[in-house]
């Protein structure tokens, strides 16, 4: 798809995905709005703009792999997957319910199209690395993408994988960091500061790209750049807003990590997402 048309498509879809996320969580009565809303633009751009995949053939062996290491953000991935036809849209409303394929944290055994079961933070990058090593053994047939939270990157295992992916020169591996500055106990900088983060990854031998994680042009450029990098893994440090799109969440990220909105709050949030979308549409027309 032509670049501007792709960006327009992503812009059009963004508010719909946000509404789906809010509806899903409200219907479920639990879950993680903040980190789903911060990640949705990145996940949407990845699926629509970069991943080679086949929704009707989820086990296609040459597909690019995507490991959502911050598994609690999975409502964002489910919203995109439903839209792409991995499963019927109605299934979104079964999120977190007994027997649902849409588990609270992504589970490979429950849903085709999920490449890795996650939820326990810090393990996804290693799994993605295993996939990237397999891709190489298989003749470099696919790229591997992993998305991680900023709080999550406090896990020691992340840095073990950071070392090994550099040792194995995994150019096929791209890590996307959803740098939304929040975790459960508060701001990441207060709980366990990560900075200087770009320097850390560079010191570990990674190619580092820093972007605004809600700007589609920047996201797509970064994904293209990371694909061109050979001989070392890439990290896209995406600066994002926790709860992006819903003002009362953006302004109080500490309260919206792992709590679903009430029906009334969801209605307010959805109205706001719609209003903001209309605004930007009008601006685009002008």
């Amino acid at each position: 798809m032509e670049r501007n048309a792709l960006i327009q498509k992503l812009e059009d879809k963004a508010p719909r995905y946000r509404v789906d996320i809010l509806e899903m969580l409200t219907e479920a009565g639990s879950g993680h709005p903040g980190g789903s809303l911060s990640a949705i633009d990145l996940i949407s751009a990845l699926y629509h703009g970069k991943l080679r995949h086949r929704p009707d053939e989820p086990h296609w062996d040459r597909r690019d792999r995507f490991v959502l290491s911050k598994g609690h953000g999975v409502p964002a991935q489910y919203a995109v997957m439903a839209d792409l036809g991995y499963f019927p849209r109605e299934q979104l409303w079964t999120l977190r319910k007994l027997g649902s394929a849409l588990q609270g944290h992504p589970c490979k055994q429950y849903l085709a199209g999920i490449d890795a079961s996650t939820g326990s933070l810090g393990q996804g990058l290693s799994m993605a690395q295993g996939m990237a090593l397999a891709s190489r053994l298989d003749g470099d047939r696919y790229q591997v993408y992993c998305m991680m939270g900023d709080g999550e990157s406090q896990e020691g295992q992340v840095w073990e994988a950071a070392m090994s992916a550099a040792k194995y020169k995994l150019g096929a591996l791209t890590l996307i960091l959803d740098y939304n500055k929040g975790q459960i106990d508060g701001y990441t900088r207060d709980v366990m500061d990560l900075e200087p983060l770009g320097d850390k990854w560079r010191a570990f031998g990674w190619h580092v790209i820093t972007i605004d994680g809600h700007d589609y042009a920047q996201i797509l450029d970064a994904l293209d750049e990371s694909e061109r990098v050979v001989g070392r893994p890439s990290i896209i440090i995406a600066h994002t807003l926790k709860g992006k799109g819903v003002k009362f969440m953006e302004e109080n990220i500490g309260s919206w990590h792992g709590v679903a909105p009430s029906r009334e709050e969801a209605d307010r949030a959805i109205a706001e997402v719609r209003r903001r979308a209309n605004l930007s549409l009008e601006e685009a027309v002008r």
Partner: protein
Amino acid sequence: MKPLRQVFGETLARLGAEIPELVVLDADVSKSTKTSIFAKAYPDRFHDMGISEQDMLATAAGLATTGMIPVASTFAIFGTGRAWEQLRNSVCYPSLNVKLVATHGGITVGQDGGSHQSVEDLATTRVIPNLRVIVPADGRETAQVIEHIVREVNAPCYVRLPRDGTPDVHDENYTFALGKASRLREGQDITLCACGVMVSVAIEAAKALQAEGISAAVLNISSLKPIDEEALIQAARKTGALLTLEEHSVIGGLGGAVCEVVSGVLPVPVVRIGLDDLFGQSGSADELLGHYGLTVTHAIAGAKEAIALKAESNPMRW
């Protein structure tokens, strides 16, 4: 019903005033484990280690070597799972005075699903030498357990709490003692041995059995290790059949522990209620208890099965 983790947090804060050596650590879930209550009262003695359970447990070990009394807290799956080997080698091997008090044990965690539901932790902690393993059944017992292990026990302890509250099963005269089971109900035909959230289920089942003319005793085995061997042998001798109930795999937890005790001394039929070698999944706590067979109805059926086995195994003896 106050969540037991709330009781835990409040108890810590109370003890913090009296015990200057008490230090609390958490791994970015203090709002959920309720160590945040201690953190607010004693910010200097609270350490949020970020999302790094292994670092937290081994740091607690280091604190303990100096005479501090560290209490480390996170969710059961991560404290005993991610940091198992730190617990084993840094804490228990040298028998350091570290308390790991984990919340969100078992399937009643609910909607977060199988990745967050710890159904193996009683097995994986019970097997570690030097470690005490305790599963309180209600709020009163939780407060007593926390105070007891902080004040009286100079050794590694693992305490497992659920996410939610539980009905009171002990009255104000109750005193927790490590290594002692509490007898909540007398009975002749079978003994229901339970821990944690399943204790109140056992009591309800015993009442229902009573109505059917079956007399069931109930033991709260909150102290899984050391376990009250005497009470178990006595129960085996008196009632001749045991039913175990736990929010855990039927392998290696309370059911396993009870079998280990009676099989060597006085083998009697033991029916184990718990997760049948399965992972949990998303769902509400109640739905999951039903789905995995951890309800009063299942307990009644299990009790009858054990009683039938006893008749079958040795009709003359009983």
